[in-house]
Amino acid sequence: MAILDPVAEPAMNARGGASRVIHARLAPRLFTASSAAVVLLILAGAVYLVVSSGRLRWAVIGEYIFSTVMLNGVKTTLTITLVSLITSIVLGTLLATMRMSKNFILKAIASGYIWFFRGTPVIVQVVFWFNIALFLPKVGFGDWTVSTNVIVTPMNAALLAMSLNVSAFMCEVIRGGLLAVDRGQTEAAMSIGMRPANILLRIVLPQAVRVILPPAGNLAIDLLKATSLVYVIGTKEILGTATSIAGQNFYVIELLIVACCWYLILVTIASYLQGKLEKRFSRGYAPASTKGKKTAAPTQAPDTPSANQLESATEIEEATS
């Protein structure tokens, strides 16, 4: 069994036949099992304390968690998250290329943007956009003007604030990914006659995505939860909906639990999708187990063990000695 004796199988391959079996060590497995038992015990105790207090109205949670108002709140949270995420990918890519360009002015604009939006609290930005009408009462071009208050609804203010804010962080994540792609890739693409925009979209970005995805996934999950901040301007997303219901029936803890359940559900789905995406974009890169020399000779006589097997055999020797 691979789980009980994870090292035996490749060792046999590399050395040919079952002539030598490496026995598993028991001590580390015993330690893992006993610490797991302790943690489980503590957890069970905590759950028992909460449940046995008898104060929680489980029925209230059940009543609201899938109610229409709550589902609308979930929809709003998702809308704000997705719109901000997509905007931040576009705007972030733009800012990242501006920051990496040779043009001094473009560089300065991008740096200034990041400096401001990363340096001030999100909640301040949310309140600021919601109140923008205070010094910008009308917007428009020429004859066509419209009162700012008509445009800046709580929803639009939330979208604007979150999009602009996340873009600053996404820019840095994307820039990190672009920098991780070897300069030779751009040169090779230029040498076959590709032009800069095409190189960025077809050659550099697809490779950068592999590096970008893990931190961008974190950012997306942070964003999903940070959307709860916009409840302060009266946007009816998950937390806004939960608090407004609690304001009427005073089941504050129950509704906060409802909200938490929803965040957990959404974050779980997001993490799953992130894993899927990461897998998809690792195309062409060897899985972690075949690390080492890129030039592992693939054309070998069939009876010699492959370089990978030899490598794992050495690892085993090192690990077991």
Binding site: A188, I192, I203, G284
Partner: protein
Amino acid sequence: MTTQPMVRIHDLKKAFGHHVVLEGVDMEVSRGEVVFVIGPSGSGKSTLLRCINGLEPYDGGEIWVGDYLVGAELHGDRWVEASPKVAAQRRSRIGMVFQRFDLFPNMTALENITAGLRLVHHQSPKEAEARGRELLERVGLSERADSYPGQLSGGQQQRIAIARAIAAKPNLVLFDEPTSALDPELVGEVLDVIRDLAESGMSLIVVTHEIHFALDVADVVYFVDGGRVVESGSPESVIKNPRHERTISFLQRINRESL
């Protein structure tokens, strides 16, 4: 028209800031000719190739490729700075092979070879694939069409890179030390492919330390040192009977290393 050289370089100068890398370089490559450039590290060989391909602007002199001046385009009777579009079009008609292969790691061998055909020359997928498979066969890697670069040996990667460079049927191919990142036993297979190209009538400029290969394949050899052409001529004259002291000591060093 047929007598017009493929590449003609006159009094080329290139500096990075105050650091002069190429100075007073003259070079001529006729159509179908195979020119080798040898010289010590840092002598400006890569920079020379990059200038010819317009990857690097130059500071003085002229580089002509066919009927155009590199870095410039003709407006009426005036040469003005070439637009990025024109520069890219010109590059698409010159092949380039790099020391570290620089294959696109997220594309298969076949996709690498056809990248230019698909993304620059806008060929149909069918057309590009047919040409791609033809090239795979030419470099002896038909059965590796769907392998990713990470699954290929260095020699195989470089052969794919050569196939990528010649996919659009360029008249001129530039090689920048194509074998110096390879294990010794893999050098031969790459040199065989280059020899095949040399015999097929393409113009080649090859930067390399493979002296014996130069003797075998080159029509002309240039020895450069410190950004200048020290000596040039037939491989016999430059490699077998070098006149210049710097050439002699460089060749001695190379010979010692290859023993």
